[in-house]
């Protein structure tokens, strides 16, 4: 592969650590269901995809959305409802959930992207609250109970997903595909323009880029992948609940991304693993979980602002 690269491109001194990171990720992912409880691992993968999609926006476009739970949650409800009511095949139901999230993202985006910074965050939060309210009030969503006990069905009509191991590898494959799409997007011509916009928006405009359109596309891709994560998550738990449309979830994804390392490819996944593990193992302490994750967040922001993966990357760069 290297031979096809132009001669003056450096041999990737800045990127040398990353293939190892990917290799470790793939290996850990393959082994995970034998090391930990598969449902926990699936939950981590779904949230890792969610956080990675969020990172595409925050880390690579510089847009802080505070309403991403709406895409995650709404897609979950839609996926389960299409299975329950219309008996849609699993793959199709996931696709419908993803498309609905993308359309929702388009709607949020068109209206929010004219503003930046805190105003952008507030508008997305406002929209997400509207979605939360709709989910709570609409007749088909089950209100406080959510949608419960929907069968996972069969993948392509052949492979039963009722078993956790089969389901795990399905989730894992979807995660890798989503992760690959994000990776591809970041390194595409489009991603190049996105980074330029993040770095210096007025300059990007003065070079002739209609920056709002680029931001909108990034927002829609991010929303669609968040929806994909939400569809998978609902399928894993066979339920869709208000937790996933609640603004707490929008906050948690910010936490995961910053903790793991915003603007690093692996950071959000590491953050998702940590936050989910914390929530899981501290569950017996009840509402103290929130206090503890809050403390972790404060320590993270004060002590290692680049996040875990960001700091590790800097450490590797310094020592070689």
């Amino acid at each position: 592969m290297i031979a096809t690269e132009p001669a003056f491109v450096p041999a990737g001194s800045r990127r040398s650590g990353i293939p190892w990171g990917y290799a470790v990720m793939v290996a850990v992912g393959l082994a995970a269901p034998f090391l930990v409880y598969p449902v926990f691992a699936m939950n981590v993968l779904c949230l890792a995809l969610f956080a990675s999609a969020f990172n595409l926006l925050l880390g690579y476009s510089g847009l802080l959305s505070f309403g991403h739970a709406a895409f995650l949650g709404a897609a979950g409800y839609v996926t389960l409802e299409t299975i329950r009511r219309w008996g849609l095949p699993v793959e199709l139901a996931i696709l419908v959930g993803t498309v609905v999230a993308a359309l929702l993202g388009m709607l949020f985006g068109v209206l929010a992207i004219r503003r930046s910074g805190i105003y952008f965050a507030m508008i997305t939060l406002g929209f997400a609250q509207v979605v939360y309210f709709l989910v709570l009030q609409m007749p088909w969503t089950g209100g406080e109970d959510g949608l419960q006990g929907v069968a996972r069905g069969k993948l392509l009509g052949i492979v039963s997903l009722q078993g956790n191991l089969a389901m795990y590898y399905f989730v894992y494959a979807v995660f890798l595909a989503g992760f690959w799409i994000i990776h591809r997007t970041i390194h595409s011509p489009f991603g190049h323009v996105l980074r330029a916009i993040r770095e210096n928006e007025p300059r990007a405009i003065s070079l002739g880029y209609d920056v709002d359109r680029y931001k909108l596309l990034a927002f829609v891709i991010s929303a669609a992948l968040s929806g994909l994560a939400g569809s998978m998550k609902a399928l894993v738990f066979q339920s869709a609940t208000l937790t996933d449309v609640h603004w707490h979830r929008s906050g948690a994804v910010v936490l995961m991304t910053l903790l793991g390392g915003m603007g690093t490819p692996m950071g959000p996944s590491v953050g998702a693993l940590l936050v989910t593990a914390l929530e899981n193992y501290l569950a017996s302490y009840g509402s103290w979980v929130a206090v503890l994750t809050g403390c972790v967040f404060i320590i993270c922001v004060l002590a290692f602002r680049r996040g875990i993966v960001g700091e590790l990357g800097a450490l590797v760069r310094r020592s070689f």
């Binding site: 591809r184 390194h187 190049h192 070079l207 880029y209």
Partner: protein
Amino acid sequence: MPDDVVLETRKLTKEFHGFVAVNGVDLRIRRGAIHALIGPNGAGKTTVFNLLTRFLPATSGTVIYRGEDITQLRPAAVARRGLVRSFQISAVFPKLTVLENVRVALLRGLGTSFHFWRGQKSLGVLDGRALELLAAVDLDAYAHTITVELPYGRKRALELATTLALEPEVLLLDEPTAGMGREDVGLVVALIQKISAGRTILMVEHNLPVVADLCDTITVLARGSVLAEGNYAEVSRDPAVLEAYIGAEP
């Protein structure tokens, strides 16, 4: 050829909540000229730039570029027509490499800037041209440096290379030598002279020796209005200009 005007404003006016920053400015920029816009602080020079490039909407008046009324266009659309601006503070993409900075500008011509599925290697075709542009401003040795690490004068040179990548017909330079040491000023002046071939340049500049060296026509703005216009010798003798710069009795 006095009639060969590439950029023109008619009664260009901008008010901010009752304060008139630019007041009925008529400018005529001839094709191929290096035209300076000077004036005391707060005269409205940068606001005029913002109005020309649509970074700010004008309150009234029109901007005509190559015979077309561009007063209502979006800023990016103005740039795509070849009227490209620089900024007072250096306008680079700090965390991108020097080469990537130029590539961002070239990428637009490729027509793949929305292709999020296409690989990075598809950008490789731009590297030759990008290096050429960098060589023109003596930055080719820095192609893979992260831009934030460049000294200030080099950043301004990179900015020029990036702007030139768009093949602009008219360049608007906002204080190209601001905050520079003397050697850097010399470098930038030489650069501007070099790139002015076949282009029109309108620049805001405080450094009067630079203006005297470079510019064919000088427009003096004060309090949002045109005070005087002419070549350096004419303008520098104009009593109204002297008064605006040195200050006179009320």
